[in-house]
């Protein structure tokens, strides 16, 4: 090897080492308060619970079996844990419905923003960014004020004589879903907007030239072309919905739990840390599967549209 190329290689190596040093503080803090604790949690899910919270250091699969099953206290047989199955089902169902509603309302909104003139587009975009960055708890509180028994909707409906007694929306699954649609809608609109903004409207024009009507153009040209945005938005709404904690706690009352609340309960009244850890990992696995589906879809549509 020549002298010059040796020097170049050494400089290259030094550069890479410096880059690792620069990244180190960020990596250390994320390890200490992120990745490391996740690993500890996996270990905890295989330990036996201790009566006062915490764990005893004995290997046990109890936590994992009780994620979906429960042991009969009389004859020791395993049956489906109805309470857990109900909560899992409610979480998946409400998250799915939330995603669908966000898509149904978010798509036209994003399309509307993307087709405004340049100046107005910034204004509308700004208006959707504000709720995106404002406190989720405050927005949940705000929607609660609207839908509760003495809230605005009921006051108006009773006032105009449409209903006799106020609608009981609070503390139901419907309330949780309404709340989640409300708080996560901006998460759907922003990636959809990014996708629709790049749409080549010459293709739409070609569709009309070939006698397609508006619906056909939308269904056969626009939607297939913005599919990456639709998938990204759906994932961005579905994942936080699945792990939602604040919205179901405030709007669902104590009864209508979702997965996030069930997990938290194991560290509060439940005092079953290994079960809480196992439930958390189950949630993580569902999220990872959803992300994987997204990455594969994105890669596929990326390959198709270049």
């Amino acid at each position: 090897m020549s002298k010059a190329s040796e020097i170049a290689a050494a400089a290259e190596e030094r550069d890479v080492r410096n880059r690792w040093f620069l990244a180190l503080p960020a990596l250390v803090i994320i390890f200490f308060a992120g990745v490391g604790p996740l690993a500890v949690m996996i270990i905890y899910s295989f330990l036996a619970k201790s009566g006062y919270g915490g764990v005893t250091w004995n290997f046990s699969l109890d936590a994992w079996t009780s994620v979906f099953l429960e042991r009969d206290i009389f004859d020791d047989t395993l049956t489906w844990a109805d309470a857990h199955v109900t909560i899992f089902w409610r979480s998946v169902k409400l998250s799915f419905l939330t995603t669908v509603f966000c898509l149904v309302f978010g798509f036209p909104t994003a399309y509307f923003i993307a087709t405004r003139s340049e100046r107005w587009r910034d204004v509308w975009l700004f208006l959707i960014t504000i709720p995106f960055w404002t406190n989720l708890l405050i927005r949940t509180f705000a929607i609660q004020e609207v839908i509760r028994g003495e809230g605005i909707i009921n006051s108006i409906l009773v006032g105009i004589g449409a209903i006799e007694t106020p609608l009981q929306i609070m503390f139901t699954d419907v309330a949780i879903m309404l709340g989640m649609v409300y708080v996560y809608l901006p998460l759907m609109v922003l990636p959809l907007y990014a996708s629709i903004e790049k749409l080549d409207f010459r293709l739409v024009e070609a569709g009309y030239d070939l006698y397609a009507n508006r619906f056909r153009v939308l269904w056969r040209i626009v939607i297939p072309l913005v599919m990456p945005g639709i998938i990204a938005g759906s994932i961005l709404v579905f994942i936080p919905s699945l792990g939602a904690y604040v919205t179901p706690r405030v709007l669902g009352g104590g009864k209508n739990l979702m997965l996030g609340n069930l997990i938290e309960l194991q560290f509060g009244q439940g005092r079953n840390w290994p079960l809480g850890a196992a439930l958390s990992i189950t949630l993580m696995i569902i999220v990872m599967v959803a992300l994987l589906v997204y990455v594969r879809q994105a890669a596929k549509s990326g390959a198709r549209h270049g």
Partner: protein, 268 residues
């Protein structure tokens, strides 16, 4: 004259209506909340005239004062730490050819974005409660570490975006003129990077200020932040005092986000 009947390829029937309804639905609850914070009566639904009463009540509430100060402290420090570390990491991971580990660093930094908050919160609760028993230290350090970690990816995004739009020619020119690496960084890179850093700082600040779930699980006794205090209050009978606190909170968030929006808007 442009006629209304002119055919537009961009129009879709009903979309504008749905969009306007969506914007109305997004803003109506927030605006109502803000309006009723000025209500003279105790009701959240019946308007009884304008007053500052609930703002004064919130201002005099010691718990609210303490929680607000704690929130601002944590958010400021977490934002500064997170942005510093994120800026260093961004410098390390941009404007380079692929080296071994680059993708891993990138993935690692984005982990906090992919893990549901409740899961992060629980895992931190498990680990930190053990450390609390071992060391006896129960200060704000745990909350600060947790907030810094989940703010890093948010601070990283605008800084990385800024760096990617800067090429290395100016730094090369500086070193050709005998600037030391530090001088080149201080006099060339840093001034150009500044908007990205400010953007990252503001996003990190807002994200930290808004956090409820992780804080609720990590905090020791007596470490309420404003959001966890509010979460606790929502269980009781709510008075317009909560609206007043929320409105001030919203005002701060909106101010920071507005600044961010105009600062990072594309100039071209």
């Amino acid at each position: 004259m442009a006629s209304a009947a002119r055919f537009s390829v961009r129009r879709q029937t009903g979309f504008a209506t749905i969009a306007v309804v969506c914007f109305f639905v997004l803003y109506m609850p927030i605006v109502t909340l803000a309006v009723y914070s000025f209500n003279a009566g105790t009701s959240l639904a019946i308007w009884e005239g304008f007053s500052w009463r609930w703002y004064l009540r919130a201002w005099d509430n010691e718990q609210v004062q303490e929680a607000s100060i704690r929130s601002l402290q944590i958010a400021s420090f977490a934002a500064i730490f997170a942005t510093t570390f994120a800026a260093m990491a961004a410098l390390a991971t941009t404007r380079t050819r692929q080296f071994r580990g680059l993708t891993s660093i990138y993935a690692f930094i984005n982990v906090p974005l992919m893990v549901p908050e409740i899961v992060t919160g629980i895992s931190l609760l498990i680990v930190f409660s053990t450390i609390k028993v071992w060391t006896g230290y129960t200060g704000l350090g745990y909350l600060l570490a947790a907030h810094t970690a989940f703010c890093i990816p948010f601070a990283y995004l605008p800084i990385r975006a800024r760096l990617e739009s800067m090429d290395l020619t100016l730094e090369t020119a500086a070193s050709d003129l005998y600037a030391t690496p530090w001088q080149a960084f201080r006099r060339v890179t840093l001034p150009l990077l500044w908007p990205g850093i400010i953007g990252g700082l503001m996003l990190a600040f807002v994200v930290s200020l808004d956090d409820v779930v992780i804080t609720e699980l990590v905090k020791s006794a007596g470490q309420e932040t404003l959001p966890t205090y509010m979460l606790g209050q929502l269980r009781r009978i709510v008075t317009p005092e909560m609206n007043a606190i929320s409105t001030v909170f919203l005002g701060i968030s909106i101010a920071v986000v507005t600044l961010f929006f105009f600062l990072t808007r594309k100039k071209d």
